[in-house]
Structures are given as structure tokens and as C-alpha cells.
């Protein structure tokens, strides 16, 4: 095995220090460019939502000055990165700061002199809502891949979850809709499990084929049934639930504690999957199966059963994510409405290095980009929102190209386990 992996190691290595420093400096220069091209005047950032109990005063920032300062700071970080040896946490902090500075400069530029203030709370609320299916999808990916089964079918699982939830919610109520959506995801998960584990089909191919199938099936049923029977696709949605007390905290409350039930389910899932995988007996065994199934087998762990269970559990989680697309958000099902979210969730999982917390952070980052794009498209910014929509994908390519550190999948991920 070592001969294989090392022999295939890419012959050209990227000097990470130079690339990282260079990237930071480029970001700094872009920040400064934002300052140069900003309209005169302040950018206003509102920090409360309308109707909030406590009103937090808005921030008025001199747009150009702020952008210049942040740009200079980014360049400084780049220079320090090039010439100092830094611990890993500092490197990560660098990336975070440079990205934050970039976003603030961008907003300063976009909102400089604008009559409409940017509502930061709404922006972050949007981030949370858009992140829900991504986080749940990425958690589903973690569940599968930590046990050694690659899950490219997250996209399909979201889609069937969304479809089933919308239809059943229309007929039998919202809660049953969520449960059915989850079950539909689980059903696709069990297909994935059977074909991958029992029939040893290549898991990447299988995932793609299942996505084609899910898209075809929901699209067909939509065209055939939902279009002619709108009563099956009524568009019921959950109402937001404000957590008493927590929900009234300024800024934080509306972002984290005043949303539909799906946000709270997501919190629970993040904790369950993270603690489950990394602090319990169950998780240790799952990870052993994903890393070295034969070793797990020799100590009496049932490899195939573990994989079946995890892949199906993952499907159930992704199904909830799918349900959030319909009954947690827009209500009605439309064809191919997952529109690549499953693939972004997959990317978030990889970006997050197969850990639930990392995947969540990555999903939030992607959710933020989408939310930002949605916000910017409402004001007249002379830059195409489509360019902004590319950002998560570009970021993922940069991540897998190893420019922000090596990502290592579970060793047995994607490899079927066959006994002699």
C-alpha cells in the first residue's frame, strides 16, 4: 500500500507558504481596490431586525478608509505568513481574518453612500437558513464516509426528501412530512448501501447514478402528478419558533434562536454526530470500520452491518435536510430544486476534513456566500451575482488542491469489504 500511495504522490509540490502569502496579499490588494472604487460616504450596517425588543444602533463606517485599512492588514498578514513560522492555529486564523476583511471591504464598497443600510442580522439569518440543508447533507456524508462508504448521492437524498416532505405535508401535516422526507432519504441511502455493500458497485459511479435516478423520479412524479394535483403540493411551511429568553438577545437571538424547527434539529444533529463519532464506543467502531475494516473485523466488530447502519442513518439525516428545502423554507416542491446543494454539502464535508464540526463550518461559509449573493442582488451592485455564486466552488477546488492543507479521507473510504 505504501508503495502505491507514495509512488503516486504528485511529483510537483506546491510551496504552501508562498502560495498562501501571495493569496493573502492579492486579497489585500482587492480590499484596497474596493476602497478606491467605493462611492463617497459611509456604509451603514444595521444590527437589529425590525420589531426587535432591544434596538441596537447601526454602525456607520467610512467606507474607503475601512477598506484601505483592512487591505493593509491583509497584506501585513500575508507578509508575516511568508516570513514567520506559525503554528497551525495561527495559519487558520490568518485565513479567517483575510476572508473576514475581504467580506467587510466588499460590503463597504457595495453600501458606500447607499441610502439602504445593510442589515447584518438579516444577512446572517439568511446564512443560517441557507446552511441548514448543507449542514445536514454534510453530516450525512460524514456518517457514510466515516464508515467507509462514499456518498455522492447526498444530492439525490436531498431531492427525494424534499419531494416526499412536500407531498406528505400537504396531505397529512407538517410533522409527518418531515418524517417521510427523512425516510425517503433513508430509502435512497439503503439503495446506496445495498448496491455498494452487497453488490460492490463502485461507490462514486453509484452515487452519480442514484442522483440521476432521484432527479428523474421526482421530476417524473412532479410532471405526472403534482402538476395536475396541486392539492398534493400546497406549500405548507413551519412557522419560526423563537426560543424564550435566548431569542430576545440582541443580534445573537434573531440569528441563532428564532427560526424554524429545522435549525434546532440541525443543532442537535451536529452535536449528536460529532459526539457520537468521536467520543462514543459506537463512533470509535464506526471509524475503525472506515479506516481498517479487517482490523475491526478481527476484534469482532461487524463491518458490513456497521456500514449498512451508517449509510442508512446518513440518508435519514440528508432526508431531513431535503425536507427543510420544502416544508422548512419555500413550501412547494419544484423540479431539481436541490440544484447542486448536495454537491456543495459533499464539498463542505471534504473541506471540513470529514469531521462534523469542520463540515458545519464549511457549510456555514458556503451558506454565507449564498446569503451575501442574495443580499447584494437586491441593491444595484455593478458586479454580477453569478460571479459571487462561483465562490464556494472555487474555494472547494482550492481546498482539494491542497493549498489550505492536506485533506485525508478515511483510509478505507470507497473500498468495499470482501472477506476471503
Amino acid at each position: 500500500m505504501t508503495t502505491l500511495t507514495t509512488a503516486l504522490r504528485a511529483p510537483v509540490t506546491v510551496n504552501r507558504r508562498i502560495v498562501a502569502a501571495g493569496t493573502f496579499i492579492v486579497f489585500g490588494l482587492i480590499d484596497i481596490a474596493f476602497g478606491l472604487y467605493a462611492h463617497k460616504g459611509d456604509a451603514t450596517f444595521a444590527l437589529s431586525v425590525s420589531g426587535a425588543g432591544v434596538h441596537v444602533p447601526s454602525i456607520h463606517a467610512p467606507a474607503s478608509t475601512v477598506a484601505y485599512a483592512l487591505g493593509a492588514a491583509s497584506i501585513l498578514i500575508g507578509v508575516l505568513r511568508a516570513f514567520l513560522d506559525q503554528p497551525p492555529w495561527a495559519k487558520r486564523l490568518n485565513i479567517g481574518l483575510v476572508l473576514l476583511f475581504f467580506v467587510v471591504s466588499l460590503l463597504c464598497w457595495a453600501y458606500a453612500g447607499s441610502a439602504i443600510p445593510l442589515n447584518a442580522v438579516n444577512l446572517l439569518q439568511g446564512t443560517m437558513n441557507l446552511s441548514i440543508p448543507l449542514v445536514l447533507g454534510a453530516l450525512a456524508g460524514c456518517m457514510c464516509e466515516r464508515s467507509g462508504v462514499i456518498n455522492i448521492a447526498i444530492e439525490g437524498q436531498l431531492l427525494v426528501g424534499a419531494f416526499a416532505a412536500a407531498v406528505v405535508a400537504s396531505v397529512a401535516g407538517l410533522w409527518l412530512g418531515v418524517v417521510t422526507g427523512s425516510l425517503a432519504g433513508g430509502l435512497l441511502g439503503s439503495l446506496l448501501a445495498v448496491f455498494a455493500i452487497r453488490f460492490l458497485v463502485d461507490q462514486i459511479i453509484l452515487g452519480v447514478v442514484l442522483n440521476v435516478l432521484a432527479s428523474g423520479l421526482t421530476g417524473y412524479l412532479n410532471d405526472r402528478i403534482l402538476v395536475t394535483h396541486p392539492n398534493l403540493n400546497t406549500g405548507l411551511t413551519f412557522n419560526p419558533v423563537k426560543i424564550p429568553g435566548l431569542g430576545d438577545i440582541p443580534i445573537i437571538g434573531p440569528i441563532f434562536f428564532d427560526s424554524t424547527i429545522f435549525l434546532y434539529i440541525t443543532y442537535a444533529m451536529i452535536i449528536l454526530v460529532q459526539v457520537g463519532l468521536f467520543s462514543t464506543r459506537w463512533g470509535l467502531r464506526v471509524r475503525a470500520v472506515g479506516e481498517h475494516p479487517t482490523a475491526a473485523d478481527t476484534v469482532g466488530i461487524r463491518v458490513l452491518a456497521t456500514r449498512y447502519r451508517n449509510v442508512i442513518l446518513g440518508g435519514l439525516i440528508a432526508g431531513i435536510g431535503g425536507a427543510s428545502l420544502t416544508v422548512g423554507s419555500v413550501g412547494t416542491f419544484t423540479k431539481d430544486m436541490s440544484s447542486g446543494l448536495g454537491y456543495i454539502a459533499l464539498a463542505a464535508m471534504i473541506f471540513g476534513r470529514w469531521t462534523p464540526l469542520g463540515a458545519t463550518a464549511a457549510a456555514l461559509l458556503f451558506g454565507f456566500t449564498n446569503s451575501l449573493q442574495a443580499t447584494l442582488s437586491t441593491i444595484n451592485v455593478p458586479v454580477s451575482s453569478f460571479l459571487l455564486l462561483m465562490a464556494p466552488y472555487v474555494a472547494t477546488i482550492i481546498a482539494v488542491a491542497g493549498l489550505v492543507g492536506r485533506v485525508r479521507a478515511p483510509a478505507a473510504d470507497g473500498k468495499p469489504y470482501v472477506k476471503a
Binding site: A10, I205, T396
Partner: protein
């Protein structure tokens, strides 16, 4: 490694012969021809498995047609009082849909009858020409996925490469003026180049950094979709003047692909280009040193390296070619039937290409046959939707089911009670994220 049992043919590793058209896999010596055929049937040779997968998909699709039909469902709610009626209704619904599909894809008996009564003879061939036209981009994207597959790469990015090719072809099609024949050739070459660039990025990233091509291609798809929208939404880029919609100007008449044979039984020149491309890919894979290198890299990259082949250069080159083929598909669609590109012109060509390549077992001949099958389903699907209100999206379900069954020969064997075979399955090259 001391005592390992002899390598039993894994369902994932066997399958394609070393070279299509090359020497066949070790056939038992002395087996007679008829014996070989018989074995192929009872053990489920790739061709038999493919056929049975098709049958299984059609049956499941038929059930789906029947049981999403309100009349049928109504009849089944009274199953116990009139079981015959319920079954007949279900059968009728499925049969009507499938026969409409057949008429749209292969042959419509009415046109034959009409021809005997002085109607157009050409009209008989209309469904077939439609099938060929629908198969054209599928052959090309299928080849794109297949050739990468043979070199061990899973190209999920044919969609993005399609967009890359289509953008360049469209731009050259309306943006420059050239003499008729030259213009269309330039546009086709531009399409190839546009796709090749996108494919090259994938190969280069994989070769230099080890970035997994599946992730990179998925991401590039969405990047290209958004890039297309960006161009179409930016005046002076690709947007049609005076339009607020995301649509390009139509390509010039000189850049359009001609029809061969004249209307009405017509063959789009694109189809001939696709067949030529398939022939080139076949020669490249089976008869050239480059193809030998691709196949070695795909089957065992470590051995390829030890034999002095550059695995990395092969990845770059094969992705360049794969991207080019997908780009050519984009050009063929824009210069052929569509003529203007819109924000969603890419449709499902890329993912169809994956199913085509899988069904065709990553061989050029297989790809052409699979593309014709799926092209027929597409052509028939449109007719079916018009005639019976069964949505054409059924085709995607059928496609997914066929490939799913093809990918799992043990399942097909279990369903059809075939004997265990010596060889089986799709050769699966990519395994896991860690190369």
C-alpha cells in the same frame, strides 16, 4: 503476503477487454462457438446483462407509468370487484406510452401506411433521424467520459466542458464572419478547444496537486454554469443585444451544421462528426501508443510509472481530449439544432454522457450503441409526452434504472436466475478519495 487464494475475478475488475477490438479475454480453449453463446446467456455475459438490465428497467418504468395514472389507480381501487379491468387498464397505460415512444424513436406504422398511399417515403425515416440527432451529443459526451475512464479518471465534468465548448462555438458562430465551410470548421475546433481547456484544468490540478478529479469536475460544472449565466447576463459579452433574458444571439448561417441527405429523411452532420469521433477514439485506444499508455495508467498507475510512463502527463492529456470531446458536443448542439445558447442549454448532456459511458462499458462501440439507445429514448420521450401525457422525464428514470442494473450484474443474475459467471460488471477504476 504468503498464502492468498488465487485472485477470483472481482465483479469490479473484470469487464472490458484490454483493447476493444483487441484480443479477447482468455476464453476456455476448445469451447465451441455455440457453447460460448450458450455460456454467455446462462452466465450473463456483458451483452446479456445489458439487455436484461434494459428489460428490467422497461418493466419498472411500465409500472411507474401505470401506477401514476389516475384512471389506472381508480381501476385498481376496485381491484376486488373487477381485477381483470384493473390489470387491463394498467397494461393499456404502459403499452400506449411505450408504443408512442417507439413510434417517435424508431418507426411509426402510420407513415409506412401513408407511404403506400402516395405519402412521403422520407417521413418513415423521420423518427430514426430524430434519434440520431438526439444521440449526437450523447455519443460525444459519452466518449468524453469513456476515454477518461479508460485512463482511470471519472469525468463527471462533461457538463462543464460542454458549456466551455458551447460558449466558444457560440461566440465564434455569431462574433466572427468567415466563409461558409471554414466558419463551421472553425466553430467546431473552437468548441473542442473550449472544452479542452476546462478538461485540462482538471488534469493539471490532478497531476500537480493530486486534487481528486471527481470533486474538481463537479465544482467546475457549477463554476461553468454560473460563468455562462454571467456572460449571458453581461451586455457586450454573450448577451443578445436588446434582450434582458439570458440568451445569446443566434449563430450565423455560415456556422450552422448542414443536414446531410436533404429533408425530410435527414441526418444532421453533427451525427457524422460524432461517429467519426468515435472511430478516432477507438483507434486511439486500441491501436495507438497513446491509448496503450492511457489504458495502462487506468488499469494500474503504479505499474505504468514503474514502466517509465508519465502518469501525470497521461492524466493531463486524457482530460484535455475528454474535455475537447465534451466541448465538441456543446458545439454540435449549438451549431446544429439550437443555434442560440441560453443559461440552461447544457441540460443533462453531461450526466447523460456518464450513463452512456457506463452502459457502453467505456468502449467507443459501446458508447455509440448506448447513445443511440438513449437518443431513441429521448426522441421517443417527446412523442410519448405529446401523445399520452406521460411526461418525458420518464426517460431519465429509465436511464438511471438501466445503468443501475448494468452496474450490478449480480443483481441482474439474481433476478433472472442466471448462473454465476467468471467475468462480470463494469470495470471500476476510481476507488475512494485517496488516490
Amino acid at each position: 503476503m504468503s498464502e492468498q487464494p488465487p485472485a477470483s475475478p472481482s465483479p469490479l475488475s473484470a469487464g472490458a477487454t484490454p483493447a476493444d477490438g483487441g484480443p479477447p479475454a482468455g476464453r476456455r480453449p476448445g469451447a465451441s462457438f455455440s457453447r460460448t453463446i450458450l455460456d454467455a446467456v446462462v452466465e450473463g455475459s456483458p451483452a446479456v446483462v445489458t439487455f436484461l438490465a434494459f428489460v428490467a428497467a422497461v418493466v419498472l418504468g411500465g409500472l411507474l407509468i401505470a401506477f401514476s395514472d389516475t384512471t389506472v389507480l381508480h381501476a385498481w381501487s376496485q381491484f376486488f370487484s373487477a381485477p381483470g379491468n384493473a390489470i387491463a387498464q394498467a397494461w393499456d397505460a404502459a403499452a400506449a406510452a411505450y408504443s408512442a415512444m417507439f413510434e417517435g424513436a424508431i418507426l411509426n406504422p402510420h407513415t409506412v401506411a401513408a407511404a403506400f398511399h402516395g405519402g412521403s417515403v422520407g417521413a418513415i425515416f423521420y423518427p430514426l433521424s430524430q434519434t440520431a440527432s438526439d444521440a449526437t451529443p450523447l455519443v460525444l459526451t459519452g466518449l468524453s467520459v469513456a476515454i477518461a475512464f479508460r485512463a482511470g479518471l471519472f469525468n463527471i465534468g462533461a457538463a462543464g466542458q460542454w458549456v466551455g465548448g458551447a460558449i466558444v462555438a457560440t461566440y465564434l458562430g455569431f462574433g466572427v464572419s468567415l466563409p461558409p465551410v471554414v466558419h463551421v470548421i472553425v466553430c467546431l475546433l473552437g468548441g473542442f478547444a473550449g472544452g479542452a481547456v476546462i478538461g485540462w484544468i482538471v488534469g493539471e490540478l490532478k497531476a500537480r496537486t493530486g486534487a481528486h478529479e471527481v470533486i474538481v469536475t463537479i465544482m467546475l460544472n457549477y463554476i461553468m454554469y454560473n460563468f455562462l449565466s454571467f456572460l449571458l447576463g453581461t451586455p457586450k459579452a454573450l448577451q443578445q443585444p436588446g434582450q434582458s433574458n439570458l440568451i445569446s444571439p443566434p449563430v450565423a448561417a455560415s456556422a450552422r451544421l448542414p443536414h446531410v441527405g436533404g429533408p425530410p429523411p435527414q441526418v444532421d452532420a453533427g451525427f457524422l462528426i460524432a461517429l467519426a469521433a468515435a472511430a478516432c477514439v477507438w483507434w486511439l485506444l486500441a491501436r495507438s501508443t497513446i491509448g496503450f499508455r492511457f489504458r495502462t495508467v487506468g488499469a494500474n498507475p503504479s505499474a505504468a510509472r514503474s514502466s517509465g510512463m508519465s502518469v501525470e502527463k497521461s492524466w493531463v492529456l486524457v482530460m484535455l481530449i475528454a474535455g475537447g470531446l465534451a466541448g465538441l458536443a456543446g458545439a454540435a448542439v449549438i451549431l446544429g439544432p439550437v443555434q442560440s445558447i441560453t443559461f440552461n442549454s447544457y441540460g443533462t448532456y453531461g450526466f447523460d454522457g456518464i450513463t452512456v459511458a457506463l452502459l457502453g462499458r467505456a468502449t467507443p462501440v459501446g458508447v455509440v450503441l448506448a447513445a443511440l439507445l438513449f437518443g431513441a429514448l429521448h426522441a421517443g420521450g417527446t412523442t410519448m409526452e405529446a401523445a399520452t401525457q406521460v411526461p418525458a422525464t420518464l426517460v431519465q428514470v429509465l436511464q438511471g434504472l438501466i445503468v443501475l442494473f448494468v452496474a450490478a450484474p449480480p443483481l441482474i443474475r439474481a433476478v433472472f436466475r442466471l448462473r454465476e459467471a467468471r467475468t462480470a460488471g463494469l470495470e471500476a477504476v476510481p476507488k475512494g478519495w485517496n488516490t
